[in-house]
Symmetry: C2
Subunit: 371 residues, 2 copies
């Protein structure tokens, strides 16, 4: 590494000193470069739409940008260890890398659930801004260092659906006694409303719903939920996604492996994650409506929205649950307080910009039409 | 290049055939690699917040990821050619790369203005989804190939403000006779409402407003507008940004220069742009509210919103203007129709997800509080 650094800084110096000549090229000194071969397991089924394919895209971008110097083999949930043991496997050195969602690690470090998303919290655009310009990346790195890993946001689902139910939900009382699959802080809110909340990796939800082991489940949104076939097991599909307005996917890397990478590969992994982060969100934004239309028109799903009274009750419970958790754990407090301050500013700007625009484009005017 | 390709495919073959061994490394054959040195001019003042710094970030990411094999020197507006001649300079071979906004090139290829953003069109999240999963990248490449360039989305402003006025706007009639700086399709709509519309590069707006050469101007939003000091020249600051709900910034690359890059550098440029695209948007989302508060509280700016009647009249004009333009130009028609179809689906999903969530989090409940 020492020798390589010297050569690099000499090369940089030579370039900085030279005059700018359009498209000039000159040969670079030949350097023997290391190739790294890593393994990544995801918490998703192999190649699952949007989520698993996002992890595959990450590996492909890194391989292509590094010209093969960092090769990452991707494994689906359970191929090496069970889905929810992926973090342990990275922490323990079995894997170099994992891909999942932060709230899957709440039993290891509770603050992870605040990084995943907060009920009634921020949308995806705000969540990304928090990571890059609100101190979120630094806080998340601090939280993930507790698990021996480096953190990158690596996809976002955008606003989810509240999920699949076999009965209509008219009030907060209707959550009582429900056996409901819902992870993270949203799950704690549903538990506070009287539900029996379970967390299951995605691949285990369809059999649990099918067998009646659970009564209700949320997963992501129409594009992903159609892929799992939840409409076969429950009739009512509820929004809005108060519980997960913009769930972060995480790419976590063994700190030991990370620190072995030269700087150019570190920057490649970082930029690849930033590219994947927006690509995954874009896919959900592009594909959810078509999937929802299929669910409604071909599978006779009843799409419903919670009423304001129920949402308000959930908002109050969310406030209590999060205040309680933050009072028990200093790191959760630090993350939550930082997000709350950022969210307040972001909401003020959103009201004047995105929200005011959405309202304006919904007014009654005659717009352009395709030919 | 021939020799290099063979070596690469051999290396790839060797890796694909080997067993996956965690963190194993082996030396790669030493290859003499070309270094490329390019020049990029932006349409923004050098290092202008968010926009110019976005272009600098692009150059830095590419340099760092390529370990110095692709070095891009960044110039501000006017440093090599005038701002609005940047595309000509790239097309003509004076520069390899430029950074600006698509509607600056509408006199060269009219369809560029549809790629920049459409009045009452899509928000940033939808715009990004259109590029990646709605065919937008392919259409934009086709449009930019007419100017001898390769296109990448390279930043987005998010929803802008309608701009700065010396009088209040109560109805569509109040646009009549205004000398108003407003580019792209939004400018054509304001012209249809009777304004005298001019386009000026950013750096020329403050003197034009100051001298009274123009009465009104829009630029971007609070973070950027505060940097130019528009509050010194106009009192009323209007929203919402019906005219530019999510303006795309463009990175355009001489096709001759692009085609000389090996595949790994092409993928690096592509991923760097995708990373910059979301980073620029994140900066606006993170910083606009603070800047707006400064404008209102320290500079006594009067922030106003257009009423629904005026917005509806503008929506009708937008529809007419865009239908007219599309009927005159086949490429504009192709781009517009594609966007209109994507927008319809995106709006349906947005209503159930982002918009329903925004409404829910605005209800009256007691949320968590920082300690």
């Amino acid at each position: 590494m020492q020798r390589r650094s010297v050569i690099k800084s000499l090369a940089t110096g030579a370039v900085a000193g030279g005059a700018a000549v359009a498209a000039s090229t000159f040969p670079k000194p030949a350097i023997a470069q290391q190739t790294f071969r890593w393994r990544m397991q995801t918490t998703w089924p192999k190649n699952f739409p949007g989520l698993g394919t996002g992890a595959e895209l990450l590996a492909r971008l890194i391989r292509d940008m590094s010209d093969g110097r960092l090769q990452i083999e991707v494994f689906g949930a359970g191929e090496i260890v069970p889905a929810f043991e992926t973090m342990d496997a990275v922490e323990g050195g079995t894997l170099e890398m994992g891909h999942g969602a932060p709230y899957y690690w709440l039993n290891k470090v509770p603050a992870t659930q605040f990084i995943a998303c907060m009920p009634f919290g921020m949308n995806a655009q705000e969540q990304n801004a928090w990571f890059l310009f609100g101190g979120g990346q630094e806080l998340a790195d601090k939280v993930y260092a507790e698990m021996g890993t480096k953190f990158f946001p690596s996809g976002n689902t955008g606003t989810q659906m509240m999920g699949w139910f076999n009965k209509e939900i008219h009030s907060i009382e209707d959550f009582r006694g429900l056996r409901y699959r819902l992870p993270g802080l949203g799950g704690r809110v549903a538990a506070a409303a009287g539900a029996t909340v379970v967390n299951l990796p995605g691949g285990e939800i369809p059999p649990a719903l099918s067998s009646g082991a659970i009564d209700a489940a949320e997963w992501v949104g129409p594009f992903n939920d159609l892929a799992f076939g939840f409409h076969q097991f429950a009739r009512y599909y509820y929004g809005p996604g108060w519980h997960e307005p913009a769930t972060v996917l995480d790419n976590f890397i063994s700190l030991r492996a990370w620190e072995q990478l030269p700087n150019d590969l570190k920057r490649i992994v970082e930029a690849a994650n930033r590219a994947v982060n927006s690509t995954v969100l874009s896919e959900f934004v592009a594909r959810n409506n078509d999937a929802l239309e299929k669910l409604i028109n071909e599978h006779n799903v009843q799409q419903r929205m919670l009423n304001d009274e129920t949402l308000t009750a959930l908002g109050n419970l969310a406030g209590q649950v999060m205040n309680d958790l933050a009072s028990q754990d200093a790191m959760s407090r630090e993350v939550m307080d930082n997000i709350l301050r950022f969210r307040k500013d972001a909401m003020a700007w959103s009201a004047l910009s995105e929200e005011a625009f959405s309202r304006a484009r919904g007014l009654d005017y005659t717009y352009a039409e395709p030919a």
